[in-house]
Symmetry: C2
Subunit: 220 residues, 2 copies
Amino acid sequence: MLLFKKMDKREIILSTAMKLFGQKGFEGTSVREIASGAGVNPAMISYYFGSKEKLFEKLVEHKAAYLKGVFEELVNNTSVTQIEKVFIVIDRYIERMFHSPQFHHLLHRELSLERRPQMKNAISEILLRNFVSVRKIIQDGIDSGEFRVVDTELTIASILGTINHLLSSEIMCRKILQKSKDFNPYQSKKLKDRISDHLKQLMRAHLLENSLHKKNKQAF
Amino acid sequence: MLLFKKMDKREIILSTAMKLFGQKGFEGTSVREIASGAGVNPAMISYYFGSKEKLFEKLVEHKAAYLKGVFEELVNNTSVTQIEKVFIVIDRYIERMFHSPQFHHLLHRELSLERRPQMKNAISEILLRNFVSVRKIIQDGIDSGEFRVVDTELTIASILGTINHLLSSEIMCRKILQKSKDFNPYQSKKLKDRISDHLKQLMRAHLLENSLHKKNKQAF
DNA sequence: ATAATTTAATTAAACGTTTGTTTAATATCA
DNA sequence: TGATATTAAACAAACGTTTAATTAAATTAT
């Protein structure tokens, strides 16, 4: 019972910190701001987490659970073609980005900063785990002749980079797509589908077309 | 003579602030740090620029000059094909990113933060100017039949996103490319060429192949 | 079950630093 | 001499964190 209520407040603090760190960055968010947002005394943050920095670490660790090894089963799934696997990867990445954009902003922002190297290391290891799975999928496609010979690593960078680039800033997204001020990228099903369609078309052209082995069965 | 020396110190402060803001972010960098790095009294920053925030604005304004309208002449250049124009755009973006990665980190980080909206607006306007030129190039290619019908805006996002994604973090870049600790992405000519080759191959497949109108003359 | 006791949660206040900025005095140059 | 540049010192405000006192909850004893 005690442990239950304790966890409750901890998670209110965690989710409030997640939101604020995502919006304003780590240095740009004060402990008092987090406490105020969570409806909690500022001292509670040190009490529960030890320090602001440890709260940050706990936060990433906590949230990163959702990112762990979701592609590992897909790699060895023999009931779908390689290009279909790539399409699934695309849709899962998009889904993930739309589901918690602030968290991804936070991760990439932290990676681009030259601070807290151990944190950068932890984040890159988290992101790399999925990377390895996706690389295997593309490499298998090349080895089997289903895909053309491409730069595997940079191909993945193109998939992730497209999504990140478009969604890293609401204002930029609106201007690029020529949308009005009330357009909310993260809640637009149409945008989601548009990115998905573009990336699948891009990857189909990049990986399949003009290939000698036309195993592609117009998936999706 | 007086004005000369004045400008000199101003620019030392500007370049020091550029480096530090790029490395540690705006709120992660103190005025005293900048002053110390520039070999200058902290009071000089208020004296020359008024405030830390105005220094930041002056900095972006100052640096952004290099980004202004470099593609505008290219759009109406009739001596190169549309795909060649796309290749030129790719190489210029890469060149730019390798030349001043810290500045681009700063720009994209600032865009991803929900702070200083007027600054975000200024940055997005700067980036958009080039965007419009590139869009025209791709749209012209589609209209003339040289290119397939593609999602113009997202195609540009794929080009920029690939470059940004790969170069937004040294540690991540090393891990993705499986390089050792002494590998410096920003000084690697090989990496530069590799990104260029990948993006050209990607865009060739995306924009040209299986096209009814085979005007493409295997450029580059 | 109730009271006593121990443990945990919460608070307001203060801690010592660091923050960006200003001031007032001094140095440098035209 | 007069304007500009530069400095050390001080400013108030905000920072993350700690403390000590209090309230709430859980445990134990009666």
